[in-house]
């Protein structure tokens, strides 16, 4: 596969065309909205937790953006469902990038990480915990509200 076919491989296009977990949520346990200042891409993420207040029961997102940012967020929602919030809040970005599985230049990396960044901020906010060092400034960078 050449680079081009890798970046726009079928699974990415499929997630882009048919985003999983697309939509909004009434009364979420955690929620945040962010944008990539470079291109104006926006993502809002909603999380509901299970009875135990720890397990991620459901994740939904809405927004608009490029194939990479939308597909990555769609993949993310599948990845994190059923995992513990604390796990996801400290999830290394490499795990998502591996799942996406395409070569990314620094600029497209920002696209790919928009959803994860917003999700992390949402979870840490809901828990009242600070963002881990590696992600410091992220809420600022993605203008998370």
């Amino acid at each position: 596969m050449n680079e081009f076919d890798q970046m726009y491989r079928e699974v990415i296009l499929d997630h882009y065309r048919n985003p999983r977990g697309h939509g909004a949520m009434d009364d979420p346990d955690a929620e945040a909205e962010g944008m990539n200042p470079l291109c104006g891409d926006e993502v809002t993420i909603f999380v509901s937790l299970a009875e135990d207040g720890e397990t991620i029961d459901d994740v939904k997102f809405s927004g608009r953006g490029c194939a990479i940012s939308q597909a990555a967020t769609s993949m993310l929602t599948e990845m994190v469902k059923g995992r513990s919030a604390i796990d996801v809040a400290t999830l290394p970005k490499e795990e998502l990038l591996e799942e996406i599985g395409i070569p990314l230049t620094p600029i497209r990396l920002k696209c790919a990480l928009l959803g994860l960044g917003v999700l992390k901020v949402a979870l840490h906010r809901a828990k009242g915990t600070p963002l881990p060092e590696e992600w410091a400034g992220l809420d600022d960078e993605f203008q998370v509200r």
Binding site: E3, F4, C39, G40, E42, A67
Partner: protein
């Protein structure tokens, strides 16, 4: 190949001057269609830079030795060339800056901060680059002056009908507008705005960052008071730009950056400023960059500004026509008659980032984003657009390859 008029400029030959264009990107020849953001550099400019550093480098104006004199000649010679290039009455009206942005900030800070106040109005356009928008908005806020924008018609041109209303809302003190829009290619009626500004007792500041590289700019014909531009968009090096200003305004202004060279005498109590333009050139100047800027201006004059304008006009007409074939395309901006070599568009269902990325795999470099024109993007109701922009080295085949790439993008996302 469908260029209609007899080309006065031989882009194919000129390409030979640009070493960077000889390369392949992802296995395809590079088609650089992002000259509005920055132009590539001809060998002539790179040679001038290198030669200067290898034979004549020294600090300017200060040393009583040969190298310093040579460097001063190079630097002041460049100032003279640039003055001639924009038809400035005198070379001392040319201030070297880092870029057009800094040229505008210089005026906003040094003229605006001490001059503006409550009841005054600062007027810009909805079509401005952030560099001619944010400084004015900021200085207006700091001084309590009002801030107004001249709105756009749906064709992407300035709606001068709103001027009368604006004038009733306060004392207009400064009008700032670009000559050519970097986002849409619109050529603005700067002469009319200058006349209106002067009727109001205001100064007229022209952002010529997109005009100076592509058409003959004549500060006296435009009737403006300040004019800003950047070397890097006109085949010159980065980190040097120019501000032209009327001498009587420059002479009365406060300085901006302070430090070495811009003073006459420094005392514990009192410091006095040097003459124009030294007053505005604090610290070690962009010496080699100015020399490169001069070489770039020589290069453009050699090719001919009129020939460049004509060449780009043909390219943009061809591009607008060819791109209209692509299904799902939306084009922004005015008719080719009133337009520089810039096309701005969106492709239904494909985000600009993806368009641009797919084109990169075809060796075609275009830009995706808000082009530092968020107010305009809001007006157009989009977050971003794709933009292709042309220069003297652009050939019609590159536009063909752009169009092919757009078809490919549609297929991928179809």
């Amino acid at each position: 190949m469908a260029v209609h008029a007899q080309p006065k400029l031989d882009a194919r030959k000129l390409r030979g001057d640009f070493p960077i264009l000889e390369q392949q990107i992802h296995g395809k020849p590079l088609a650089y269609l992002d000259s509005a953001v920055s132009a590539q550099k001809p060998r002539q400019v790179l040679d001038a830079l290198r030669d200067f550093y290898e034979t004549s480098y020294g600090n300017v104006h200060r040393g009583v030795y040969t190298l310093s004199e040579r460097a001063t000649e190079g630097y002041e010679g460049a100032r003279q060339k640039i003055a001639t290039f924009v038809n400035a009455p005198s070379p001392r009206e040319i201030v070297f800056t880092r870029n057009a942005t800094e040229s505008i900030n210089l005026v906003a800070y040094a003229w605006g901060l001490p001059t503006l106040g409550a009841g005054d109005l600062v007027v810009v356009t909805e079509l401005e680059h952030h560099s001619n928008f944010v400084p004015w908005q900021y200085i207006a806020k700091r001084t309590g002056a009002g801030f107004r924008t001249i709105r756009l018609t749906d064709a992407g041109e300035l709606d001068l009908d709103c001027l009368e209303e604006i004038a009733t809302e306060g004392q207009v003190k400064v009008v700032a507008a670009n000559y050519v829009s970097n986002a849409l290619g619109t050529v603005n009626p700067v002469e009319r705005l200058s006349a209106w500004a002067h009727e109001q007792g205001a100064i007229m500041v022209v952002d010529a960052a997109q005009a100076a590289p592509h058409r003959r700019v004549d500060v006296q014909a435009l009737g403006c008071d300040f004019l800003a531009f950047s070397a890097h968009k006109m085949c010159g090096p980065t980190s040097v730009g120019a501000l032209w200003g009327r001498h009587e305004l420059l002479a009365k202004m406060e300085p901006f950056n302070l430090g070495g060279h811009m003073i006459r005498s420094v005392g514990l109590e009192d410091t006095t400023w040097g003459d124009v333009p030294a007053k505005f050139e604090a610290g070690t100047q962009p010496i080699a960059e100015a020399v490169g800027f001069g070489a770039a201006v020589d290069y453009l004059e050699e090719v001919g500004l009129e020939a460049i304008e004509q060449h780009e006009h043909e390219l943009v007409a061809y591009a607008l026509e060819r791109m209209a074939e692509v299904p799902g395309i939306t084009q922004y901006g005015p008719l080719p008659e009133n337009r520089a070599g810039i096309v701005s568009f969106n492709l239904d269902g494909v985000h600009p980032h993806d368009v641009s990325q797919i084109l990169d795999y075809e060796g075609v470099a275009i830009r995706a984003g808000h082009h530092c024109c968020q107010p305009l993007m809001k007006r157009l109701g989009v977050a971003a657009t794709n933009r292709a922009s042309f220069y003297l080295y652009t050939i019609p085949e590159e536009i063909d390859r752009l169009v092919d790439g757009l078809h490919k993008a549609r297929k991928v996302f179809g």
